[in-house]
């Protein structure tokens, strides 16, 4: 795993993954980053109800279940982000009029939850044998009040940071598939806009380096 020399915060917590642990879903995986862990279960390509079927490709559905309580608005918006990321990578045109369901259960949340969900879902997609055009990974960056970039922040670091960005990066061309921001930061700090080749500075660059390590 590459470790960026620039700042002390540019390293990831120890992470691990286990695949094929559930017997009922077609694919399953659990991903642990430090103390954050997410369990993903995949079903597909399976039957889809009439109104939701699409003749062009598979209908991807994502369900994100928090550790306690019922899913709320925050979960719904994360589900949409995850769904669009998966649709960009899945070769859905090979399975029209089917549904692919991804169920993510948060087992423990200690920071970088969305990145952990992305990683668990990617390993689950591999376990299910669904056709993908590339792999992808999720990385969270936090910009702390001093302006340093911290990768894979803990819950405490996320609270103290004045911006937390999560990136989904694909494996074929190291492009950013999805990004979400909480808080406010300048564009240079984030390393945007993406069309510029990823140079050595900024959150996107650090995340890409960390992503290739993953």
């Amino acid at each position: 795993m590459e470790v960026a020399e620039e700042a002390a915060g540019c390293s990831l917590r120890p992470f691990s993954c286990e695949q094929g642990l559930l017997s009922r879903p077609d694919g399953s995986a659990t991903f642990v980053q430090g103390d954050t862990s997410v369990l993903a279960g995949l079903y597909g390509p399976a039957e889809v109800k009439g109104s939701r079927e699409s003749p062009d490709g598979a209908t991807v559905e994502v369900l994100l279940r928090p550790k306690v309580g019922l899913p709320g608005v925050a979960e719904r918006s994360r589900e949409q982000l995850l769904r669009r990321t998966f649709e960009a990578v899945l070769l859905g045109s090979l399975h029209p009029r089917t549904s692919i369901t991804v169920v993510l259960q948060v087992l423990s949340d200690a920071g970088s939850l969305l990145a952990c969900c992305l990683n668990a879902a990617c390993m689950g997609l591999l376990d299910a044998g669904l056709p993908l055009s590339s792999l992808f990974c999720g990385v969270t960056c936090a910009l702390d009040p001093h302006g340093d970039i911290i990768l894979d922040p803990t819950a405490r670091q996320e609270q103290e940071a004045h911006a937390v960005l999560t990136f989904a990066i694909d494996s074929a061309q190291r492009k950013v598939l999805a990004t979400t921001t909480r808080g406010s930061c300048s564009a240079e700090e984030a390393g945007l806009p993406a069309p510029r080749p990823i140079s050595g500075r900024g959150g996107v660059a650090a995340a890409t380096r960390a992503g290739s390590g993953l």
């Binding site: 390509p45 090979l94 399975h95 549904s99 055009s133 290739s212």
Partner: protein, 260 residues
């Protein structure tokens, strides 16, 4: 995660490949693909088959599933560009493929057509005339809940899959309704392919234990029938455990059972 440029396909045979890897094919020498070769100097090129887990892309083959890359040479070893590449991958969910022999469960009759559950995203249809010796007057005796062993006549992503229980010459050749009793269970697709390989050790060792009847469906379903219920269940347990046992563990388990 290796991104960037691709590696030649031959160098990756037998290694693990991941989705997104690009495999470069041997470049066709000096031939301009726009023009037809007129002279006889052009060496005949073999046809390259792109099997499961691979898609054609600009410059070569794009890997879409993770697994081991396999290659089979074309008939004569001289044509280096011929043969087939595919990825040996593991999955539990079946996707209908034309020509596959599968075990289906009858879920209903709609007019003259049976509906079968084959484990895919859609139910397959089976006409009552697609049995050996079936005519409009002589209908096959098929009830809801019966097991049928047949092959796919039509199976692509755009159409509903269609099954038949006769081969191209009109004979049943082992297909049709599976008899009474027995036990149906589901395993992963990789284990089925291992059991269907020629001279499979698992089947040979099991057949020395007890006599039994076995039907293997490419959709992951296996039907077993032995003389008694207990023998049937023992064979079912061994086949399910075979996925994760090594050859030595399996021989030990069978030796313990045949000792009893």
């Amino acid at each position: 995660m290796a991104g960037g440029g691709g590696a030649p396909a031959e160098s990756r045979v037998g290694q693990v490949v991941l989705p997104g890897d690009v495999l470069l094919l041997p470049a066709y020498d000096e031939q301009d693909t726009e023009r037809l070769p007129l002279g006889t100097s052009a060496a005949p090129r073999g046809r390259l088959l792109c099997g499961p887990g691979l898609r054609r892309c600009a410059g070569g083959l794009l890997v879409t599933k993770c697994g081991l890359l396999r290659h089979r040479r074309a008939g004569d070893g001289a044509a280096a560009a011929g043969g087939a590449y595919w990825v040996d991958s593991q999955q539990k969910r079946y996707v209908p493929v034309k020509g596959d022999h599968v075990i289906g469960i009858v879920t209903g009759k709609v007019g003259d057509v049976f509906r079968l559950d084959v484990g895919g995203s859609e139910q397959a249809s089976l006409s009552y005339l697609a049995f050996e010796g079936a005519t409009k007057r002589n209908r096959p005796n098929v009830q809801v809940g019966d097991l049928i062993y047949g092959q796919f006549l039509v199976a692509n992503k755009d159409m509903e899959p269609e099954m038949v229980c006769i081969d191209s010459s009109g004979r049943a050749s082992g297909m049709g309704v599976i008899g009474q009793d027995g036990f149906l269970f589901k395993v992963s697709l990789g284990l089925i392919r291992k059991l269907l390989a020629p001279k499979c050790e698992i089947i040979q060792e099991l057949s020395q234990l007890y006599p039994f009847e076995l039907v293997l469906g490419m959709n992951g379903r296996i039907w077993v029938k032995a003389k008694t219920v207990q023998q049937t269940l023992i064979i079912v347990n061994i086949l399910e455990a075979c996925e994760y046992m090594t050859a030595e563990q399996r021989k030990q388990a069978l030796a313990k059972l045949s000792g009893n």
